[in-house]
Symmetry: D2
Subunit: 262 residues, 4 copies
C-alpha cells in the first residue's frame, strides 16, 4: 500500500497545538460545552445530537449501566483478585462476557427490527407494520427460535425500563419506527402464542438506538460503554469490600458430588 | 463462608419488579432524569453530583475520549479484523493497552499529588504547597524518575486541554487542592530544571478527578470509560472503512533487514 | 443452590498435601513423566493419549503456533507498547483476534465435517463419503457460502502444512474419517467448480483434532493454546526490538486523503 | 519511518510456498519432528533445546497448567456464560487474572533471584550464594516485604511440586544457579525468622525457567501458556457441565447484610 491509499481516520486528529474531534476543536469547542453523552453521539454518529436525541441516548446509557452482580461483574471482580495492578484487565474481562446471552440482545433486537422494517417498506402504515411483525414472528416461531427483545429471566411480567423508555421517547418526539415495530412484534407474539412476554430492557435499548440512527452492527458498543461505568463502580467497591477472594475460598472449600473431601 | 458473611454489593439490586441503583429506582428516578455522566458519578462515587461536579466530570471524560490512531486504537481495529463477530473482544483489546505508558498517567498523577498533599498537611498555604511540591519534585529528580503529569511527546509546548480544564474548574468553583498542587509541581520543576514541561491532559484529568473526590486507585477507570467511547467510534469506522487489513498487508509485504524477500 | 448440587470440577483438586489432575498426582505421576502435550490431551480429553495421538497432537500444535506478523500479533505488540507492565494483557489482546476470520476456521471445519459425517452415516464407504461431501458442498455453493478449510490468501496453490499433516496422520494410523472427509470435500469442490482450492492448515488441523476425538466446539481452544506460544515469543522480541511504537509513529505521521497535513 | 528501518521479526516468515519458524521449515523440519514444548523453546528462546532442557521445560509447564477452580478459572467460566460464541474471549478473561497475586510470582521470583546472583558475582561459591541470599532476605524483611517464591496459602508445609522439580532438575543436570539461589533464600529466611516457609510451585518454576536461560521479564509468558491449557479444559467442562450460571444464580439470591431481601 502506498501512503496515498491509507484510509486514515475521520474521527480525530492531533497536532502539536490542537486536538480535533469530528472537526471540532477539543479544548475550545467541546470541553465544557458538550456532555460526555453528546461527545459519544458525535464520535460514533459523526454529527452533534439535538437536545431530544441527547436525552434519549442518556436514558439508554443509564438503563444499561448496571444490573447488579451479573456474571460479567463477577468475572471482573475475580480478575481483579488476581491482578489488582491492572484495572484495565479487570474491566476488559468484564466486557468480554457481554456477548450473545446478555448484552448481545441489544444488537439482535436492532437487527431483527431492521428485517421487520425492510419487510414493511418505507413509511409503513400501522397495519403494514403489524403484518411485517407477524411474518417475522411466525418465521421465528417456525424455526423454534426466540424473539429478540422479548422475555427476561428475572422481570417476568414487566421490565421496569421498558415503559419508561417508551415514555421518554414519546416525550422527546423520537418514538420512531423501530420502537413501534418492537411493540408490533410483542403484540404479534402475544396474539400467536397467548403468552405475554415483556419487552426487555436490552431490546427497548436496541430499538431506541436504531431510532437514533445507529446501525444495528454498532449498537452493542453503546451497551459496552454503559456497562463500563458499572464495571468501574464494582471494581471501586471491590477495592474497599472484596468479594472475589471470599467467593473463591467458598468455592474451593466445596466438595463436588462423588469427590472425596479435600 | 456462611451466607451471613457475604459482602454483597451496595451498588444495585434487581428484583422481579424493580432495578435499584445506589438506592434510586432506575426507571422512575434515574432514566430521563440524570445524564449518563451523573449516573457514572453516582455509581462510582455513591452520591449524586452537583451541577458543578457534573460539568467538571463531563469535561474530564470529553478530554480523554479520543486521541486519534493511538496504539490502543490500532490494537482494537486489528482485533476486529480477525474477530468481527465479537465487538466486545475488540473493545477489550483496545482497553488492555491503556496501561502505564499512556492512560496510566491519570492514576500516577493522582497518586503523586496525594503524596504532595499529605506532605503539605491540611488546608495548606500556597507556600506550604509550593514547598511540598518542591520536595516531591526533588525526590523524583534525585531518583531519575519522571514527574507524573508533566510533558507530552506531541504537545511539547502546551497541551491544549490543560488551560481549558483549569478554566472550567475555576468557573465551577472546583479548582481544588490537587489542581493547585499540580501547578505547584509544574512551577517547582521549571524552577529546578529550567525546562518548562507542559502539564499534560492526562495529568490534569487525574488532578481534576482527585479534586472531585475520587481515590487515586480508581481514577484510571474514568479514563477507561472515556476511551471506550472513542474505541466504539473507531470500530464503527472500521466496519465502513477498514484499516486493520490494509495495515497488516502492508507490514506483511515488508522485508526486514537481513531477511530475504518473501 | 445447596452445596449438594454444586457441579464442581472433574479436572483437578488441590489439598494441603497434593495436587491432583484428572486423577493423577501432579508431582509424582505427571511432572517429569508426561510432556506438556500429553498433559493437555489429558486435561481436555480426560484420558491419557497414546504415543500416536501425542505425535499427531504435537504436529497440530506445532502447525498452528506462529504465522508471522499477523493482525493478532500486531495487536498484542501494540498493546504491550501501552501496557508493558501487564504481559497477560498483551497476550489476551492477541488471543482476542483469534476469531472467525483466521483461527475460527479450525472450528468451522470440524463442525462442517461433522455435518458431512452425520450425512454419510456410520462406517461409510468411500463412495458414501464422497456423496455426503458432494451434498454438503452443493449446499454451501447454493447458499453462496465458503467451504470451511479450503483456500488460503497466501498459500494459493498448496498450504505446506496440509500434505505433511496427512503424512503424519497416516504414519501414526490416525488418518480418520474427518481427515478423509476433508479430502472428499476438496475433491467435490474441485469437481463442481473446476477450481483447485488447497486444503488450508487451519482446516487440516481442525480435521485432525476431530479425528483425535475432540468435539468441534472445543477445537478452537487448541489453536488458542498453540498461538499463545507464538504470542509470547513475539512479546519477548518486542521487549528487545520493539515495533509497536515505530508502527504507531509511522501511522501517526500519515496524512489521510482529504485531510490537512498535521 | 522508511521501510529500511522496519525492525521486522526474526521469529518467522510466510511465503506462498513455505512457512519458516526460526529458520526451520515448519512443514518439513518441525511438524512431526519436534514436540510443542520443543517448538515453544525454539520460538521464545531462539534455539532448539537439548533433551534435558525439554524435559525440564515440560515439567515446568505441566506443574503450572492447572490448580483447580481458581479465581481466574471462575472468571473464564463466568465469561463463557455470557458469551459462549467467543471461546477466545473466555480464555482471554481467564488469562487477565494471571497477575501479581498468583502467577506473577513466577516472574517476581526470577527477578529476585537475578538480584541475588548479581550480588553473588560470577561462579559464586556456596558461601557467597548464602551470603548474597542473606543480604537480599534481610533487605526484604527490613522493607516489610514478602520473599518471592516462599509460602503458599494452601500448601503450608510443603508444595508438592517443589521437591519434584528439584529432583528433575538434578536428574537432567540443570540444577543451576537460580534453583540453588532459591534454596539459599529459603534457608536464609528460615535462619532469620525461625519460620520454615515452603518454596512454592510458582517460585520453583520461575527459578527453573531462569536456569533454562530465559530472562525474568518473559517467564510469566510460560505460566500463561501452561494456564491456557487448563483454561481450555475448564471451558470444555463448562460446555458439558456448566457452573457459571448456577454460581451466578446462587449469588444473585443472596441478601447482603443490611439489605432488604429481594
Amino acid at each position: 500500500m502506498t501512503e496515498g491509499d491509507w484510509p486514515g481516520t475521520a474521527i480525530g486528529q492531533t497536532t502539536a497545538e490542537s486536538i480535533t474531534v469530528r472537526g471540532s476543536d477539543l479544548a475550545d469547542e467541546l470541553m465544557g460545552r458538550v456532555t460526555f453523552t453528546e461527545l459519544t453521539f458525535l464520535l460514533i454518529g459523526g454529527a452533534r445530537p439535538t437536545e431530544a436525541q441527547t436525552r434519549l441516548l442518556d436514558a439508554v446509557l443509564v438503563s444499561l449501566a448496571d444490573h447488579g452482580l451479573t456474571p460479567t461483574v463477577l468475572a471482573a471482580r475475580l480478575t481483579y483478585t488476581g491482578a489488582p495492578e491492572s484495572l484495565q484487565g479487570a474491566v476488559a474481562a468484564g466486557l468480554l462476557g457481554a456477548g450473545s446471552v446478555f448484552l448481545g440482545v441489544v444488537e439482535d433486537t436492532a437487527r431483527f427490527l431492521r428485517e421487520v422494517l425492510d419487510e414493511a417498506g418505507p413509511e409503513p402504515s400501522p397495519q403494514r407494520l403489524a403484518d411485517a411483525a407477524g411474518l417475522a414472528v411466525d418465521a421465528r416461531i417456525a424455526a423454534g427460535a426466540r424473539i429478540p427483545g422479548l422475555g427476561h429471566p428475572v422481570h417476568r411480567v414487566e421490565d421496569p425500563r421498558t415503559a419508561r423508555m417508551y415514555r421518554i421517547a414519546d416525550e422527546t418526539g423520537l418514538l420512531g419506527l423501530n420502537l413501534q415495530a418492537l411493540r408490533a412484534v410483542s403484540a404479534a407474539h402475544r396474539e400467536r402464542t397467548g403468552r405475554a412476554l415483556p419487552i426487555n430492557g436490552a431490546g427497548v435499548a436496541g430499538a431506541a438506538l436504531a431510532d437514533l440512527g445507529f446501525p444495528a452492527e454498532i449498537v452493542r458498543g453503546f451497551a459496552l460503554l454503559a456497562r463500563t461505568a458499572g464495571l468501574v463502580a464494582h471494581l471501586a467497591e471491590e477495592m474497599e469490600r472484596p468479594l472475589g477472594m471470599p467467593l473463591f475460598r467458598e468455592v474451593e472449600g466445596r466438595t463436588a458430588p462423588g469427590q472425596p473431601p479435600p
